[in-house]
Symmetry: C2
Subunit: 291 residues, 2 copies
């Protein structure tokens, strides 16, 4: 853990300007302090107030010809974690009877294509409403493990998979969103195949190995990770090591990401239209990729 | 109404390529057909399948140094339409007791910063899951009517307000999202002031005049409109003329947009992280502005 003095300095940098946390500012502060030998990996703490506008320290340019939808359309039959409440829709009014159409929805925070805020696994961690907006627009790195996952449904994405991506594409960009494409997305329309329970009730699908998550949190400067499966951890995880690593580092996760196979493995930008309710642990997220 | 032949031709153009509707393709088709004298304003119909990736016919470039949050954080005390169910949160598990934290949410489709899909007012109109992803990334034009609204809480944004914006900034860009900044956003934290009911139960706040909405739908090529109040129409509207005009033209609306006063009136880009549940009339939307 860092000393209170170091944390105080980091917090001061984080809260500079408009009172919002900039992940890039955060990383800059971390880097400067780390260079002085003062820092272990930091936990990004919850903020005092909802951030409004985040300066991106270096201006960025996005050039694109495609906008791709990376969020699965949600329905009451969409897959959910075993035992969890499925998506609910209750019709309230219709155009025919009332002049307009509306429904009341019941939504567990962790169904469908959704964001895990750090608070999901860290008491006092950043909640949905306090995630820095600047962290929601990021270069997306897609790590293709479809071959590995095709051979092993319990495949855990490794540090070597990340290094192989970097060998081909260069080091992960600052502030990247690192997404695992295991090919699992196609199963989303078949809840049973997506959750993939064995006879003992254990889930089987790919995820990040905790060591890979720790590597990203400590050795790279990312904003979050994404998976095309139901969990950041492989389905048969017993310790949620990846969740703990990302949440502990103040990173967000997105689960059940769709259509990653359509996105270039490098060079695209993702916009994570994450939830924004007070004190939330997570919630539905609309992801769009621009490339 | 258009003849079946014309509609068939338009549908063919709309569904070209990857089977998704491109609003720009749509507008191109409309323009070509309109030039032949064949078309009245069209209703964009619901699609057969969820669009995945939308080509933007001309590539676009976004250069930005700020990411701004345009969605209000939502809580159970956030303002809602009179009589409507407020946002509900039921805690399911906590880190202290269960190792992780999660809630179950009850969300009326039309509370908080939310999107109105065309299906909200048009039977058979486009639902949340079928909105073209390419329409969710747009140049944002902010029309500042804070002075007018300061003098008249029932102010209805006019065609002249749009033309005044254009006199200063040039014609609305193709595929624009046109947002009214009436200064009402500051009231969001005070539900009573935001809904602003009079003794007779009539709401009072600014909105678009239906003539302005029809002008935008017929004379410009936009993807949707936004308001910083509870309704696309002024609060005292009795005919929902603006809702009907936008939904009838296949445009979406976003209500309760936050922080528009921070966004440049021209030159910014908005990403509308709209809802994506099957058959939805609308739902929570995370808007981010890049500038």
């Amino acid at each position: 853990m860092c000393s209170p003095e170091v944390m105080s300095r980091v917090q001061a940098v984080l809260r500079g300007g408009n009172g919002s946390v900039s992940r890039r500012g955060f990383l800059g502060a971390t880097g400067a302090l780390a260079a002085a030998g003062a820092l272990a990996p930091l936990t990004l703490r919850a903020q005092d107030a909802t951030p409004v506008a985040t300066p991106v320290l270096e201006g960025r340019t996005i050039t694109y010809g495609i906008v791709a939808n990376l969020s699965h359309p949600l329905s009451p039959t969409s897959p959910v974690w075993p035992g969890r409440l499925p998506f609910g829709v209750e019709n309230e009014v219709t155009v025919a009877d009332d002049g307009f159409y509306a429904n009341i929805l019941t939504i567990h925070e962790h169904i469908g294509t959704h964001l895990d805020a750090p608070a999901h696994f860290v008491d006092g961690g950043t909640t949905t409403d306090l995630i820095d907006p600047g962290q929601l627009v990021a270069p997306i790195a897609v790590i293709d493990v479809t071959a590995q996952a095709g051979a092993d449904v319990d495949y855990a994405l490794t540090i070597d998979d990340i290094l192989a991506w970097e060998a081909e594409n260069g080091e992960l960009p600052l502030g990247a969103f690192v997404a695992m494409n295991s090919g699992w997305s196609d199963r989303f329309s078949d809840a049973e195949a997506f959750v993939n329970l064995d006879a003992a009730g254990v889930q089987h699908y790919p995820g990040f190995h905790p060591d890979a998550a720790i590597f990203l949190a400590e050795q790279r400067s990312i904003v979050g990770i994404g998976v095309d499966t139901l969990s950041q951890d492989p389905g048969n995880s017993t310790d949620f090591g990846t969740h703990v690593a990302t949440a502990g580092a103040g990173l967000y996760g997105v689960e059940c990401v769709a259509n990653l196979g359509d996105v270039p493995i490098s060079g695209a930008t993702v916009v994570v239209g994450g939830p924004n309710h007070e004190g939330g642990s997570g919630g539905l997220a609309r992801l769009l990729a621009l490339y």
